[in-house]
């Protein structure tokens, strides 16, 4: 046996459009220093893939935009891919998503280009991707150019170390799958739950504006990425005539911190802040996407997908998260 054959390394043969190392929940606790948390944009798919691969849900895996990736494993490994619909093969044999496989040293995992629904794929490997953690997380923060592999998307020829946590020593786990009944539904017309505020009616927007916000169908703009999902301009009535000291437009406020999932109004343009977004800014936040539904923004295709916001209370959002935590557990796994 050569040294190469048993190396716990993933060779990146095809990097795809924009693939990054991501974990969950990224790097919370650093907003006061200007860091948004980064981490998987679709946290559900990464967490599910980790469960299948025998990892903690928090482990680092790969977030792959649109697919078109090829990875060669340097040692035996159990892998799982969850997320957008795409053709997936191991050494040329088709394999399903949401299901674990143990591959042999030298095997190549390929994903074709996803035709949707969905936009991102998540690859988990038993033991996790073991790039050096920065401030407690391995997540790539594209806006800050840090974390992951030198703070950048993967390139052809990159070599990713595989960790040894929870693998029982040999890098493999019992092959299992995520029950179909526990998987989320992917679509082209999304419904995303959000809580009104922090700047909503009656002081910034009118009640009629908020009804429009939650009643309209919004198209996803092509200029969307991990920093934010841009929607389309809409003329709100606004409850104020101007921005006061903060500037001319009524969407302007004195710079304030943004919550993760904030839907801010840049003038008349709504933007859902993604995990790599700015921590603060001077725009009104009309609503905040719930944590339980935040995964959906990672699956919005900026090429024709549409969405509606569904208004929920904070209490309802918390209940949804409780249900989601139960769904992301051993109970959702079955033997493959």
């Amino acid at each position: 046996m050569t040294a190469m054959s048993a190396e716990k390394i993933i060779d990146v043969l095809e990097p795809g459009l924009q693939s990054t190392v991501q974990d969950y929940p990224g790097r919370p606790g650093m907003m006061r220093q200007g860091f948004f948390p980064a981490g998987a944009m679709d946290h559900f798919a990464l967490r599910a893939a980790n469960l299948i691969a025998g990892n903690e849900q928090s482990a680092a895996g790969l977030e792959v935009v649109l697919g078109n990736i090829a990875l060669r494993f340097g040692a035996d490994a159990t892998v799982a891919v969850c997320g957008a619909e795409a053709e997936l093969t191991i050494d040329g044999e088709p394999v399903p998503l949401w299901e674990g496989r143990t591959v042999r040293a030298g095997s190549v995992l390929r994903a074709g280009i996803s035709k949707g629904p969905g936009f991102r794929l998540y690859v988990a490997v038993c033991g996790g991707i073991d790039v050096p953690p920065l401030f407690g997380s391995r997540a790539t923060y594209t806006m800050g150019g840090l974390g992951g592999l030198d703070g950048r998307p993967l390139r052809k020829g990159d070599r990713l170390p595989i960790g040894g946590d929870g693998t029982g020593g040999d890098g493999t786990a019992r092959p299992r799958r995520f029950r179909e009944s526990s998987r989320p539904a992917y679509t082209r017309d999304w419904e995303i739950e959000a809580v009104p505020g922090p700047q909503a009616a009656p002081d910034y927007l009118t009640e009629a504006d908020m009804r429009e916000f939650f009643g309209r169908t919004w198209a996803v703009d092509r200029n969307s990425d991990r920093t934010g999902i841009r929607l389309e301009s809409f003329r709100f009535q606004w409850a104020r005539s101007g921005g006061g000291i903060a500037g001319g437009h009524p969407s302007n406020i004195l710079d304030n911190p943004y919550p993760v999932g904030a839907v801010n109004l840049n003038g008349d343009l709504p933007v859902i802040l993604g995990p790599d977004g700015p921590t603060a800014g001077g725009f009104v936040v009309a609503a905040t996407v719930t944590h339980a539904d935040l995964w959906k923004i990672g699956q919005l295709r900026p090429i024709g997908d549409r969405l509606r916001f569904r208004q929920v209370t904070a209490a309802q959002a918390t209940e949804r998260e409780r249900e989601q935590r139960e769904r992301l557990s051993e109970a959702s796994l079955e033997d493959a």
């Binding site: 800050g144 809580v195 939650f214 911190p257 719930t290 959002a317």
Partner: protein
């Protein structure tokens, strides 16, 4: 549909020398606590930072993190561990235990930084913007933003602008938008300078560039896009690699409550210092110096008329200056 879309979950009027509070729902995992009205009153930020400090001294299970803004603070929590009502109760108790603004003394550091005005990197950034993004931007006439800032504020010339930047300490109200980026405001109200931002934004700015957007100064921590009008360059304020000892424990030079005082140097001298920072030969000048809010309020009161006069001059000039 749940009827009203109101986001305000609590309010408390101003009383006992403390500003009023508005508690706003910011998703199910955070509350945005806002102080006073939307006005450029540094006292509100002093209050925010005092609240932030007291919250850090009184840990509460389920309270995840706090992030100050200018007059608000975002308090993030885990709703499965901490009920919203209990969090609001905790925030109210903190508010009650804080002294009146006038009696506050805030921990603060005075940090002296060199600045080179009208440096070649800022000019290169403006040139690049004119060539590739917007050739007719009024804020870029003559290949610099400096003359536009002068004009918009009705100043007598570049020297008056530079004089204002040098004459006052700049209060770091909070860090945000981007890792390590300080939002700073002049402590001396007579030296307030205001300018609209770029439209559209610039794609490139050099590390260490100093800019102004609205009434707020910023130092760019890394090479990045930006929207502020730029007029000079200082030393690095952020270094993940910790090449200078000042960044070893924390990659950020500045924290909320710090005051920055600039002193003027030539660009060649600044570039030499830049190299010295990287080679760990440069020592940043940092002095612990608590900030007395009462003394600030007295001084601001004495300067009120002079500040108002300058403000009138500024607003007249702004009214006849095109916006980008």
């Amino acid at each position: 549909m749940n009827g009203t879309a109101a986001a305000i979950i609590g309010q408390r009027p101003a009383a006992e020398g403390k500003p009023g509070i508005t508690y706003r729902q910011a998703g199910e995992r955070a509350v945005l606590v806002e102080y006073g009205e939307m006005e450029l009153d540094l006292t509100l930020n002093f209050f925010v930072l005092a609240v932030d400090k007291m919250l850090s001294e009184r840990p509460l299970k389920g309270l995840a993190e706090t992030a100050p803004g200018f007059r608000s603070i975002l308090v993030s929590y885990d709703p499965l561990e901490l009920a919203a009502d209990d969090l609001l109760g905790h925030l109210q108790a903190v508010h009650e235990d804080l002294p009146a603004e006038r009696e506050m003394e805030l921990p603060s550091r005075l940090i002296k930084l060199p600045i080179a005005f009208d440096d070649s990197q800022s000019r290169a950034a403006v040139r690049r913007y004119i060539d590739s993004i917007r050739p007719d931007a009024p804020n870029c006439e003559g290949g610099t933003n400096i003359d536009y800032i002068v004009r918009y504020n009705g100043l007598s010339g570049r020297d008056e602008l530079f004089g204002s930047v040098l004459a006052t300490e700049h209060w770091t109200a909070f860090i945000g938008f981007f890792p390590g980026l300080p939002f700073m405001f002049p402590v001396d109200p007579r030296h307030t300078v205001v300018v609209p931002k770029y439209n559209p934004t610039r794609t490139w700015t050099a590390e260490g560039t100093v800019g102004l957007g609205g009434p707020c100064y910023a130092i760019y921590p890394v090479e990045s896009p930006g929207g502020y009008q730029i007029f000079g360059r200082t030393l690095p304020v952020y270094d993940l690699q910790g090449r200078n000892r000042v960044f070893r424990e924390n990659p950020l030079l500045l924290r909320p409550g710090d005051r920055v005082r600039f002193h003027r140097v030539g660009e060649d001298e600044l570039l030499g210092m830049f190299e010295d920072v990287r080679a760990d030969r440069y020592s940043y000048q940092i002095e612990e110096q608590p900030f007395d809010v009462g003394a600030y309020l007295d001084e601001a009161g004495r300067l009120r008329e002079e500040s108002a006069e300058r403000r009138r001059r500024r607003e007249e000039a702004a009214a006849r200056t095109p916006v980008p």
